[in-house]
């Protein structure tokens, strides 16, 4: 404890670097060393003069030997440069797309994440407290079903029911086309609150309901399971029994137990957030949500490896940041962690 939390965060933040390096290396090896010429993949079967191909190669930095490409790209990453797109529109910095697409993905994941944690905590706690009952079985079944829901399918079912049958919720996009909103952060809900735009707030929330429910419900299954199993373990532990033997009130004991059960859940949150990002790609595609996911899928159609690489590195950075936050929260909550 000598050097305090600030120092811990600093040192822990340094540990992001190797993680990103490793992922970058893996991605680089995959994208550059596996068979296939990215440039030819972009142009496809179209007949293009050789000098124009060379030009393209040069622009993408592909005319140099792989190890130089490796360090080149790394050097540019350090300066916040994620490369340029190789397909239509060609030569746009990938960074621009990240800036414009990331807020949409962030908004979706924040809502999805919140829903999944709340649902998971509720169902998991109920299951553990009523352990062995029909309610418990029901919750465990919920956890399995939620976990195995296929996101596009579930999303489309929701679209069919709420969009078509009931006709109450929008099924695609982030905002009604006839509403204008001045963007500040790119998170529409936040922006409409900041600008006091009630219409936009209602519309953006309405657009968020189905995608974030889809994502939230599917991801909540893992929490239900973990919270239940942890809480069941904790509730059978000696110190809980000791609490009971001391005449402590039941609701207080449940809170103490939850606090203990929550510690491993925090660890899961970091991992779940990564899975959530994966799920977001499918959700975005299903709901035509203009985020990073739909962008990646677009780029795949063009075989635009530069963009894919940039996006993945950005995801890696983001995931590492989340795991840093999770670790710090963990250290704050658990006195057993030394820092």
């Amino acid at each position: 404890m000598a050097r305090g939390l600030g120092y811990y965060i600093f040192v822990r933040a340094l540990m992001i670097i190797p993680t990103i390096l490793i992922l970058y290396t893996i991605v680089f090896i995959l994208l550059r060393l596996l068979p296939g010429d990215p440039i030819l993949a972009v142009v496809g079967t179209r007949n293009i003069p050789p000098e124009q191909l060379e030009n393209l190669r040069h622009m993408a930095g592909l005319d140099k030997p792989p190890y130089i490409q490796y360090f080149d790209y790394l050097w540019r990453l350090l300066h916040g440069d994620f490369g340029v797109t190789l397909a239509i529109p060609m030569g746009t910095p990938v960074k621009n797309y990240i800036f414009s697409r990331f807020p949409a993905t962030l908004e979706l994941t924040i809502f999805g994440f919140t829903i999944s944690v709340i649902l998971g905590l509720l169902t998991g706690t109920v299951a553990a407290v009523k352990r062995g009952s029909a309610v418990d079985t029901g919750m465990r079944l919920y956890s399995i079903i939620a976990y195995t829901l296929f996101i596009p399918w579930f999303g489309l079912l929701l679209q069919y029911f709420f969009g078509l049958v009931l006709g109450v919720l929008p099924t695609s996009g982030r905002l009604d086309p006839d509403i204008s909103l001045k963007t500040i952060t790119g998170l529409y809900v936040l922006d409409s609150i900041l600008t006091g735009n009630i219409d936009a707030l209602i519309s953006s929330l309405a657009h968020l309901v189905l995608p974030s429910l889809t994502l939230g419900i599917v991801l909540s299954g893992a929490y239900t399971r973990l919270v239940r199993n942890n809480l069941v373990d904790i509730l059978s532990m000696d110190f809980i029994r000791s609490y009971r033997a001391r005449g402590i009130r039941d609701w207080k004991i449940t809170i103490y137990a939850l606090k203990n059960a929550f510690i491993p859940v925090i660890t899961l949150m970091g991992l779940q957030f990564a899975i959530l990002l994966g799920g977001a790609i499918l959700t975005e595609t299903t709901f035509s949500w203009p985020g990073m996911g739909t962008f990646i899928v677009d780029r795949i159609d063009y075989r635009d490896y530069n963009s894919i690489q940039g996006m993945i590195i950005f995801f890696a950075f983001f995931v590492s940041l989340i795991s840093l936050v999770v670790d710090v929260i963990y250290a704050l909550l658990d006195p057993r962690v030394k820092y």
């Binding site: 050097r3 120092y7 811990y8 040192v11 822990r12 340094l14 540990m15 820092y339």
Partner: protein
């Protein structure tokens, strides 16, 4: 009598695990001095009981003798041969001669191997028998340790046995190689009271038959008294007193030994009045106190104890003590 095993100034320092953060912060590496300069001899057919509280280094000492742990420094001499630096390959043939019996009979058997096979396995490892012969010998051994009918027990898995029965299997597995030396690490501390004697009797019968030498590790000096010829008392990685069993128990010279003996509950002397009580708990083995390691807790400690560490000196026939203020003078 010939010496079977000798430990010479044996030391084992375990590095305290550091996280990457500790490394980045250049925090100095710390060591747990589990065993810190231990020397003794065990003669043929003799049992030495190693007594001490948890964390005193007694188990590590046993593991060092068998080279299950690499010593930091010091020497281990087995049957006149220095085995301290032998490589795992060179050591393997020697494993026939030295065996170990563990504390926890629930954890020391492979849950997925039939107990008969576990007893036969050592013979196969050392290529001392064909599978058929090994099976025959294992069956004999099962009978010998009282697990009858042997054919039935051969087929069972550990979870189908009680604690006492498993410990018999563990003993059979160690004894099938007819070793010269055995380290028994708390072999009865997890066995129900009413069955301890039979396990100890079993060990005793093998000891007599094979003229075994034994290091018997225990925290319970009253068990140590039953099985041993000599006793060594360990405190914070060092032997503080060593001598013939009855002599040490009836006439302890080190305050720690005396406190240990007084703390053991006794039915025969349940109404005894005066006990030597010591304060506090065992200090952190990462930073043992200077001078005599026992001095912070010792009721007789003086200036000299704080500054200097006493040597292990002979105070009676074969009776060694590490203390400036011997008791009972």
């Amino acid at each position: 009598m010939s010496v079977v095993v000798e430990a010479v100034d044996l030391r084992k320092y375990f590095p305290v695990p550091r996280s990457i953060i500790d490394v980045l912060l250049h925090r100095p590496r710390e060591y747990v001095r589990a065993v810190d300069g231990v020397s003794f001899k065990i003669y043929e057919g003799e049992t030495l009981a190693l007594i001490g509280e948890s964390g005193c280094g007694k188990t590590t000492t046993g593991r060092l003798l068998l080279r299950l742990e690499e010593p930091t420094s010091g020497r281990i001499v087995f049957m006149g041969r220095d085995i301290t630096r032998l490589k795992p390959r060179e050591l393997r043939p020697l494993r026939r001669e030295m065996q170990m019996i563990f504390q926890d009979p629930y954890a020391s058997l492979n849950p997925r191997m039939r107990i008969g096979d576990q007893i036969a396995h050592p013979l196969l490892i050392h290529k001392l028998a064909t599978p058929r012969e090994a099976r025959e010998k294992a069956l004999e051994m099962l009978k010998r340790v009282g697990l009858t009918p042997p054919h039935e027990f051969y087929e069972r898995y550990p979870h189908q046995l009680s604690g006492g029965q498993r410990q018999r299997v563990v003993i059979a597995r160690a004894m099938i190689l007819k070793p010269r030396f055995v380290v028994a690490d708390e072999p009865v501390s997890m066995i129900d009271v009413s069955m301890r004697a039979s396990i100890l009797d079993l060990l005793e019968s093998f000891r007599r038959e094979y003229r075994l030498s034994m290091l018997f590790i225990t925290h319970d000096i009253s068990i140590g008294r039953i099985v041993s010829d000599r006793i060594a008392v360990m405190y914070l990685g060092r032997i503080v007193e060593m001598g013939p069993t009855e002599e040490v128990i009836r006439n302890p010279k080190h305050p720690y030994t005396r406190a240990l003996i007084d703390a053991v509950p006794s039915i025969a002397r349940r109404k005894r009045g005066k006990k030597l009580r010591i304060k506090g708990e065992v200090p952190d083995p990462r930073s043992p106190p200077p001078g005599c390691r026992f001095h912070p807790r010792c009721p007789f400690a003086t200036e000299i104890c704080r500054g200097e560490e006493p040597d292990l000196v002979e105070v009676g026939r074969d009776h060694y003590v590490r203390c400036f203020h011997l008791l009972g003078k």
